[in-house]
Symmetry: D2
Subunit: 337 residues, 4 copies
Amino acid sequence: MLKVGLLGAGRIGRVHAQAITSHPGCILSAVSDALPDAAASLASEHGAKARSSDEIIADPGIDAILIATPTDTHSDLIEAATGAGKAVLCEKPVDLNLQRAMDCLNTVSARGKPVMIGFNRRFDPNFAALKAGLSAGEIGKAELLSITSFDPAPPPVSYVKVSGGLFRDMMIHDFDMANYLMGDVPQTISAVGSSLVDAEIGAVGDVDTAAVTMTYADGRIAVIKNSRRAAYGYDQRVEVLGSDGLLQAQNMLENTVVKSTVDGVVGAKPTHFFLERYMTAYRVEWAAFVDAVEGGSEVPVTLQDGVAALAMAEAATLSAQTGRSIQMEEILKPVAK
Amino acid sequence: MLKVGLLGAGRIGRVHAQAITSHPGCILSAVSDALPDAAASLASEHGAKARSSDEIIADPGIDAILIATPTDTHSDLIEAATGAGKAVLCEKPVDLNLQRAMDCLNTVSARGKPVMIGFNRRFDPNFAALKAGLSAGEIGKAELLSITSFDPAPPPVSYVKVSGGLFRDMMIHDFDMANYLMGDVPQTISAVGSSLVDAEIGAVGDVDTAAVTMTYADGRIAVIKNSRRAAYGYDQRVEVLGSDGLLQAQNMLENTVVKSTVDGVVGAKPTHFFLERYMTAYRVEWAAFVDAVEGGSEVPVTLQDGVAALAMAEAATLSAQTGRSIQMEEILKPVAK
Amino acid sequence: MLKVGLLGAGRIGRVHAQAITSHPGCILSAVSDALPDAAASLASEHGAKARSSDEIIADPGIDAILIATPTDTHSDLIEAATGAGKAVLCEKPVDLNLQRAMDCLNTVSARGKPVMIGFNRRFDPNFAALKAGLSAGEIGKAELLSITSFDPAPPPVSYVKVSGGLFRDMMIHDFDMANYLMGDVPQTISAVGSSLVDAEIGAVGDVDTAAVTMTYADGRIAVIKNSRRAAYGYDQRVEVLGSDGLLQAQNMLENTVVKSTVDGVVGAKPTHFFLERYMTAYRVEWAAFVDAVEGGSEVPVTLQDGVAALAMAEAATLSAQTGRSIQMEEILKPVAK
Amino acid sequence: MLKVGLLGAGRIGRVHAQAITSHPGCILSAVSDALPDAAASLASEHGAKARSSDEIIADPGIDAILIATPTDTHSDLIEAATGAGKAVLCEKPVDLNLQRAMDCLNTVSARGKPVMIGFNRRFDPNFAALKAGLSAGEIGKAELLSITSFDPAPPPVSYVKVSGGLFRDMMIHDFDMANYLMGDVPQTISAVGSSLVDAEIGAVGDVDTAAVTMTYADGRIAVIKNSRRAAYGYDQRVEVLGSDGLLQAQNMLENTVVKSTVDGVVGAKPTHFFLERYMTAYRVEWAAFVDAVEGGSEVPVTLQDGVAALAMAEAATLSAQTGRSIQMEEILKPVAK
């Protein structure tokens, strides 16, 4: 049995707690949170103990740490947990600061402990099936990738302010999806963004609607579209044009009912938001982490993957600000010095 | 906390065990099975005790009994459990013998304990959404109901022999679905059936492909189609034509990936079989039972509903054998005398 | 060039006039109608002459006759036209009276002139593609056929009165479609019908909602559903379950636009009625007739096919009236004496 | 009756000839082509005369000229025809040289004769329905437009060489579609392109796969994706995200047949190429031109629209070459001086 300590008892921490406790090979031993009541409540629901993060990390009886705390604590906690010999699954992003994330990667690399970044969408059965089709050569060689990723509604501006901006907070999922599907990081990134959904988002210097075009060393192209608002729900689609065809992963719907009346043929909306859409993905993600930890194989999403996505977000942010196409080299060189 | 005894640790018993233990208000106390090892194994997985059915029914510490045993024990166990003051959820069908089921209904009715029959499809989110649309008047008054229900592959002939035949074993789900959606039992039933899938099924006197037409007192019409084999998986569709439109519940698919190549545009197959398709329904069903038991309200699928569906299966069997349209009265009168 | 005389300048006659004149190998020479103005108007639009039916049939310069007159004149006109050596394409049904249609068939058979019945749906690209897939063995052996055929709105009661009833007037198309797809006529027919759409239709002794189940000598089964009203338009769907899968021909839609809002995902309605849905089919039908006439091959829909569909309508009418399953033999024997 | 002269009897000229002759208010009087046989053949099919372009333009009996000649003759012929007082419908693009097109616009503007550019896709019933929904406010204010436009197979390299490049030859349709749907020209254009489909296309300095991002003065964003090859056929989709929802125009399919087997659920491919997909659009386009000419209203696609799309193609070409985001001002200023 893998004994797990969960750091962070907020919304996403609760999702992970469920994934951990429903895994037949895991025990949720302890939960921490900056709000002691949140930790206590979640711990008691699952028969775990509420403890401080330090205690959990220091406990030799705990094998793995799931980090679901605020982003600015991720790097420190990854370093501390691996330093204490734990396997780590950390929520995305690694950090908002690329240099800090790179330093964390350097620190951690030598330790040889598994560190996985929680890019949950890779474990969505639909995207995973698309990836499998791509890998099996069902459409030949990939040429043109498109990712559409719209949230149902914008977050509060208070959140936007500290989020690192749309590219680091929201599109980072899509950058990782691109890396996952294309099997490479891009060479150039060109981004545009506007504040069309909520003027206050623009007022704090962020965008809520954006499009990014990326090119790869071998000429392949990827396009990502983001909006903070889709009136009809959570829109999460991917399509890849290849030399022999097209693979699309379409939205999951709330149900399969179709109503035909004089007003048209009406189907259900997409599942509302990420908790509904990706509930299965979170469970599969956790199981993949456990398999890697117990089997001694490499985790399916590495800390390096987390850093790569962050670097792409950095490039996109810079491109949107300057109107220039950014070479990924520009971003990575000074950092990787 | 509702303390539950589970009778039957076979495939469907295991499904119910999961639904019971994942319900926050329930404890699975005990499991029985004719095969002691099966009971012991399932009990240990869920921290329950393996006991005999008699012991479980007699235990005053147990509040509710879930009956997932072979069909020929259902009536006896319903009577015993209600006699011991338990609430009961019993798998369908109530019995293969209509007279015995009617007797059970009479015996149990006086006791006032909740007895629910496990027509799980009523709790499928898709059919439930269709029913909600119908009840909300979205297509006006229902006129013509169609149910398509194909299994992926026929059961072994050894099972078919003791199953009571396609109408009692398989189409009984669709009869209940018709009653649920139409809010009434039909007046006439006309059935045809053939053995096209497996000649051995015909050799033992059963059919594997069938169509039934039913009419209601107010002139409404329902059509049910069954096949024991659909090469592409479990095909479970319902549509209702009403005065103002059409409501359809379509199949759930394995995933949302669509592949377009020179050979056409290929989507995923329906979820393979009832465990995949109705996993959610089993959980919702159990929760509905618990709500009724604890809230003192009527169970959403009554023993009377179970008897009605069985009577319809009886009528269909007779119609297919004789080539006559059967009045439901013919079936119910001698029984209800 | 095939010189064509068109008998009947009503709505369907106008459709045929277009098909004839847009065919590069045909000339529309003459048009007749009981209403001289209708004939004159349609003739002038296409550079043809308005003449009487007798004159057209007698004219040795005319090669082929298209009969689009009221049903009760069909048999007489078929006999007259073939007697004058013409090739004939006659609108469905052959006659409302089965005996009269059989007599016509006997009369005409000896003459060896091509007589085709206008079951236009066989030439719809969607149904034709389904048939091609079936013939190519794409789903193995057909087992269970379903035809859904709903009109957008009921005809006036004045029409219903003289229509011969839903089974002869409307479902006759579906009977022919069943014969086309199954490659055989059924052995038994069982029908139910109700007047749910318009009470006046019931008052004149007809039904507006009906379901028919048919069985074939080899055990195959077919189900046909009809309604005189679908609020969302013309619903024309076919599906066939075979030993290796399912083939479905779905509705054609007005356009491909999909609107997703907070109210759901809305697509276009089916094309409104038969003129929109089957415009292509009428052109293909005419071309197939011309090809057969000019190539000396058998017409793709024979007078015998027309009589078979009529006999099935007769059986369904009788079944709905008596509540009995009708053997096709019962219908055909006395007639074929 | 509008008397029409058709310049150009190639593939697209033949399409237009059909649209002209099937219009009840038009007569195709004359056809010209650089290949006299082509003109003669097409003219004879439609009862027209084969003449030289000069003769046709000079003929006072001809009201309107349809220009379907090679692109490098368009500007000259537009000027000549309007100079002779004709109404003109000219195939896209106006010219490959933006300065020449601007000069043509200046020359023609003063003459007040209707000049329409043949952006046929505006008249596709699906895109027109999407536009109508947008104009009706069905999804609120448009924010993010996506156009997917893939050809089934690349043209021969001999054609590519003289085509002006993908942006001027192929994407120009999408630029016009963007202008049509957004009701404005963009402020900035950023393009990437690769040669992935056919290395020879790259060898002659063109691209076969491209993505363009455009921003508008009010912050709206548009993305266009092009590929010269889609193994599954002609992929022509548009979607617009608005403040209240999403409008999508999906592909038209060859038929509505769906086959479900053990291999999946297979639907038909998109209609193969532009002749199949846009046949209706060409007829509607011509009718719209005739309506404008006869009604004295402005043509629905102006010469200015043609110039705007060409300027966007120019900007995209420059952006793809330089890796810079191009301000439309840069392109238009020197030209409009």
